[in-house]
Each structure stands twice: as C-alpha cells, then as structure tokens.
C-alpha cells in the first residue's frame, strides 16, 4: 500500500478543482477547434449541430448493449453512431431528393427524438436529465477520477488528452492533403488524393471528439467549441497554419474568460463559455480587416494607395499618345492631378522605389516600367475599366 502511494501522483496535488476543470475545458476546446477549422473551411459547421444531438441516440443504443453507463464502450458506440449519422446525411443528399441542409435538418431531430422516446419508455430507471444532456456537468469533472501510469487525474481530462493527441497527429500528418482537398477538391482528386477518404477521416475524428466533449461539456457547448474559434480565425488569417494557431488562441481565451465569469456569477459554465464564444466571434466580425469598423479606417488608408494608382493610370493613359512628352513632364503631372509640388515628388519617388516608374532623363519625362505597365492593366481591371 505504502509502496503504491509513493508511486501515485495525484493531479490534485498540483491543481485545485477549478484549475482541473479549466484545464479540461481548454484541452477540449483545442481538440475541437483544430478540427473545427477544416469543418468551417468545408462548410460543414452545421454538421456539428447534427452530431452533437444525434450521438445521444448512439449513447442510448450502446447503453442497451453494455447496460453500463460508465463503460468506455458507450463512448466508442456513440462515436461510431456519429459517423453513421454523417454517412446517412451524405447518402440522403446524394439521392438529390433533398438539399444538403434539408438532409441535416431531417436526420438529427429524428435521431434525437428516437433517443428521447427510447429513454422515456425502455430506460426509465436511467434518469434523463435534460440539463445534463445539453449543458454537461463541468462541475463533476474533478470528482470523476482515474489512475493512468501512476497518475491520478480526472477521467474527462484523460479522454480529452488522448483525443487531442490523435487530432494533432492527424492534422500534422495529413496537413497537406487536408489543405488541398478543402481548397480545391477536384484538383485533389486529380492529384491522387481521395477527398472521400480524407472527409471520412475528418468526420470520424469529429464524431469521437464530439462524443468525448459531449460527455464533459454538453451538446450545446460542443457546437460552439468546434465552430466559434475557427470562424474567428478564418476572418483574421491568410494562411491555414496561422488559422489553426489563432483558433487555438481564441479557444483558450473563450474558455478561460467564460469559466471565470461563470464561477464569479455562479452560473452555468458551459453556457457562459458558449456566450463568450459567440461574443468574440461577433467582435471579430466587427473588427477584422474586412469588418465594418475596419472598413471605415481602411477607407482612409486606401485613399493613399488610390492616389498612387491614379498616378500610374495617368502615366499609362498618356504614354503612347502624341502629347506624351507634354503630359508626362513633372509640371504637367503636378498640375493635372492638382497636387502640391512636394506631394507629387514624394509619390513619384515612391513609385520609382517600388519599380513601377522610371525617369527618362533625355526627354525629362516619367514613364512606366514593364512592371508598371502590368500594374496599369491590373488597375484597369480592378476598377472595372
């Protein structure tokens, strides 16, 4: 006994209950958001809604087989059922009798209804607490412990760590394939990467992640954890790696903020994190580079770039014409665009630095370089000329 106790490390020696809960939430959030990025990019966000509701039926069916609410087989059964749900939705929309959204909308309420009926008729002794299904039991996380390799830690934390590890490996190993098949599925198929295989790989992991997360945080927060951080990151980044990274940061931020707010106000932790996730996403909508508030700021900045474009346009328009020597002299440019002498000089110099414009010392005029002419054509396209 003494010998065993010496080897046993208890996580509670390092982290208090609150910290254990938060750590579990953060691990869950990261595991969800790295898959969530690919779900958002593939326009599959609402599948998480379908999954998080359908797996209840999976859990119920698995319970009829195992007859044990604590069996890990319950989670595995539910995970497989989640994949089946995705498959069923895919099959239904493939018939072209209904649109994909309709397929999602018809399948998951049916599965959820069947789960509710089965529980209320055949498993009445198993108390279905609606609040637990939807909100999970974050508070219970530190009370449900298990010992792994001499470490005692919350069961939910252990499961989520394993899921996180699997998800990280999957995304790291198949990063290139996931990227190309989400960006351009036709090209991916031609390049020898089966989009179907990757899709079901992604959905299998999504389903198992949803089941494990569902157990800890409930059906509603699962949706927020998958989609919210990924959606925020999608608006802010221009490369997939950054998107993954930023989504993880958002996820940690949402969980931490939501958790402590819920503790302080003594309200539902899952609910609060979902609310905070919605709010950060909404803030990103307002404040990102193409967002509404930024648009006002950018209009000012664009005006600057627009002036440079205007200068290139002027040079390009007059270059091949008879009055070129007159129009492209410094004085005429200054007058025709009605700019100050200094500003005209500064802007011309800037374009020369950027390699768009060159001085013709003989004729004392300015003209476009090869690169400048290319830019001239593109400006015309950009402004629809």
């Amino acid at each position: 006994m003494i010998y065993q106790n010496l080897l046993l490390t208890k996580i509670s020696d390092f982290l208090n209950y609150n910290q254990q809960m938060l750590l579990t939430l953060i691990v869950t959030g990261i595991a969800c958001s790295i898959l969530g990025c690919f779900l958002v990019l593939n326009k599959l966000s609402m599948l998480t809604d379908a999954l998080s509701h359908s797996i209840l039926l999976g859990i119920v069916l698995a319970y009829f087989v195992t007859k044990d609410l604590n069996s890990p087989l319950l989670l595995i059964g539910a995970g497989i059922f989640g994949v089946f749900t995705v498959y069923a939705i895919g099959l239904l929309s493939k018939t072209r009798l209904v649109k994909n959204d309709d397929a999602v909308g018809i399948i998951f309420p049916l599965f959820f209804s069947l789960a509710v009926i089965l529980i209320s008729t055949f498993a009445r002794n198993v108390h279905l607490d609606t609040d637990i299904v939807l909100m999970g039991q974050v508070i219970m996380i530190p009370l449900n412990n298990m010992t792994v390799f001499g470490v005692e830690l919350p069961k939910a934390l252990f499961y989520m760590l394993i899921i996180l590890l699997i998800n990280l490996i999957f995304v790291a190993v198949f990063f290139k394939e996931l990227k190309v098949s989400s960006f351009d599925p036709e090209f991916a198929t031609l390049a020898g990467f089966s989009s179907g295989l990757l899709f079901y790989g992604l959905m299998t992991l999504t389903s198992f992640t949803a089941v494990a997360a569902f157990d800890a945080v409930g059906a509603i927060l699962v949706i927020a954890l998958f989609v919210g951080p990924a959606a925020s990151a999608y608006m802010l980044t221009k490369s997939l790696k950054k998107m993954l990274l930023v989504s993880i940061i958002f996820s940690m931020l949402n969980s931490t903020l939501g958790f402590y707010l819920a503790i302080v106000l003594n309200v539902s932790i899952s609910g609060m994190i979902a609310v905070i996730t919605g709010m950060t996403t909404f803030m990103t909508v307002l404040l990102n580079r193409q967002g509404i508030i930024t648009a006002i700021y950018l209009r000012h900045k664009n005006r600057k770039e627009f002036r440079l474009d205007l200068l290139i346009m002027h040079l390009g328009n007059h270059e091949d014409q008879e009055d070129a020597e007159f129009e492209l002299g410094f004085a005429t440019i200054k007058d025709h665009l009605s700019w100050e002498r200094e500003t005209t000089e500064r802007r011309l110099n800037r374009l020369i630095d950027q390699g768009f414009v060159q001085r013709n010392h003989e004729k004392k005029i300015f003209c476009l370089t090869e690169k400048g002419r290319l830019r001239y054509d593109m400006i015309k396209v950009d402004y629809g000329m």
Partner: protein
C-alpha cells in the same frame, strides 16, 4: 362544452367503427387527448405550410437556429414577469428569436463567414445564454420562491401538459398566419421562385422577409411549449420536404405539407397517449420523418421511380448504341 359535443358525435356514430380499425375510442374521446391533439394538429398544419417556404428558399437550418435561440427569451420573460404565463413567455421567445435572426443576417451580409458557421455560433451562443440565465435564477433568492419547473418544458416540450388556453393561443397565431399566407399567396409564390424578378416587378423583398419572419417566429414561439426549442425546426421543414416529393406546384405542395403535418400530429399524439411515458413531440417527429422517408422512396420523383427510369434509359441507350 367542446368535449361534451365531440363525445356525443363520437359515441353516436364512430365508436364501433374506430374500435374496429384498432383505434382506442376511450383515448380518442378523452378530454386531454382532444385538447392536446387539437393543439398539435393546428400547430403542425401551420408550421408545415409556413416551413415549406423556408425549405424552398433553401434556409431550412435557419429554423433550427431560431428555435434554439428563442430559449433565452423565455427565461428573460419569466424573470421580468415572475410568472409562467404562456403569452408573456411567447412574446419573450419571439423577441429573442427575432434578435438572433437579425444578428444572423447582419453577420452573413458583413463577413466572409459561411451561413452555416454563423448559424452554429449564434445557435450555441443564444442557447448558452438561456442556460446561463436559467442557472442564475435557480440559485437566486428572489426567483427561488416562484415555481419554475415549467421552464424546462420549453427545451423538449411537454405537449401532455397543455391546456385550453394554449390551444387558444395556437389558434390566435394560426388564423392570422394562414390569412397572411392566403392573402399574399401570389406574392409569396413569386418571392419563393424568383426573388430578383419579384424585385423587378416592384415587390419589396424586405416586406416579404418581414412577413415571413413574423409568422415563422410566432409559429416557433407557440410551438415551443409543445415540442421544445430543440425539435421545433422539424415541424417547420419535414412536412415541406415530404410534400416536395409529391408535387412541383406551389399550391399543391402547401396543401400536402398541411395534410402531412396534421396527420403526423394526430398519429403521434395518439401513440404517445396509448403508450404512457412517450413524449408527444418526439413521437410526432418520428411519424413525420417516417412519412418523409416513405415518400422519398415511393413518390413519382422518388428512388424507386428513378431507379426504374434509369434502368429503362440505360436499356434504350445501349440499344440505340448497338444500332
């Protein structure tokens, strides 16, 4: 009064007939069954017709998001009114559902996010807010004194508990909704099939959206007590999807959707009355979905017909290629 009257009719003519086809007359004539059945049938009829427009506009998942999003409105209405009065809770649901709808539209227009991502985020944020508020009043000394057990019913629905006042409320929403649908039938038809054309002939699509959202929102709000925030979207879209398997004509689709909705409501309510413990809402949805799948299989556009047509086509093709 109503039940006495119905009782008379049933006992005079149909009692033996019903028993003969396997329906339990005792249940059919009980007052509770009649009230619940009337409520769910009227609701399913209107929801099916209104929802058909949503399905045709390709927005079937918006109903799901709004259904979830109306939940916090119910809690807030309870917090303000300190009572479980059906009307005030319904108004709360309409306001929060509408707010969610406006935010969804706003984000959809002003960001590069896909609609489905927007729906997922808003749905979970609003429902999360409902959960936060509910946990807040549960632990609160002021609200603790007011009975609030009924609030949970709005998540999964508790059709068995509805009373005559709820049926009256459903009627109060159903009649104007159907009237609007009837009066603006032509406009809705154009709006559904060609929004651009509708605009070009001077039909304000904003007005049409406002009308549509208004009636959808009222139907959702009245339906919450019967089927709950999670499952109400089925009442909207499943009858429409089923009807679309059978016809391409707008008027026929609407009528079929209404029939599918009310029939499912009747059968579902009956089943849940016979087998104690079965919730009414889920039972109706299982019946509805069953009808939808059967339709997808056997309807003139369905899988069976498609398969036969394809086989014939391939036969003809191979014949013509050989020639």
């Amino acid at each position: 009064m109503l039940s006495v009257y119905l009782n008379k009719i049933f006992s005079l003519n149909f009692a033996n007939l019903l028993n003969a086809i396997g329906l339990d007359f005792e249940i059919l004539s009980s007052y509770t069954f009649i009230v619940v059945c009337l409520g769910t049938m009227i609701l399913a009829t209107v929801a099916g017709m209104v929802g058909t427009i949503t399905v045709l506009k390709g927005q079937s998942l918006i109903g799901d998001a709004i259904g979830h999003s109306s939940y916090p409105g119910i809690i807030i209405a309870f917090m303000i009114g300190m009572s479980l009065d059906s009307v005030s809770l319904m108004i709360g649901a309409i306001i929060s559902g509408t707010l969610a709808f406006i935010i969804i539209q706003f984000i959809d227009k002003n960001s590069k996010l896909n609609l489905d991502a927007v729906l997922a985020v808003i749905l979970s944020a609003f429902f999360g807010l409902g959960m936060v508020l509910k946990s807040f009043i549960q632990g609160h000394p002021i609200y603790g004194k007011v009975p609030q057990g009924g609030l949970s019913n709005y998540i999964f629905g508790q059709a068995a508990f509805i009373r005559t006042i709820d049926v009256q409320l459903i009627l109060a929403v159903a009649i104007p909704s159907l009237l609007i649908l009837f009066l603006f039938y032509k406009e809705f038809k154009i709006f559904v099939f060609d929004e651009v054309y509708a605009k070009s002939i001077g039909l304000s699509s904003t007005l049409m959206y406002v009308l549509l959202v208004l009636i959808t929102m009222s139907v959702i709000a009245t339906g919450l007590k019967l089927v709950g925030a999670i499952l109400i979207s089925s009442f909207l879209i499943v009858p429409g999807i089923t009807a679309l398997q059978w016809s391409n004509r707008f008027s026929h689709v609407l009528i079929i959707a209404a029939i599918v909705g009310s029939f499912s409501a009747f059968v579902g309510t009956y089943i849940s009355s016979v087998y104690a413990g079965m919730s009414t809402g889920p039972c109706i949805i299982v019946v509805m979905s069953g009808l939808a799948f059967i339709s997808m299989f056997i309807s003139p556009k369905g899988l069976l017909a498609n398969w036969l047509r394809r086989r014939k086509y391939l036969n003809d093709l191979s014949k013509s290629l050989i020639d």
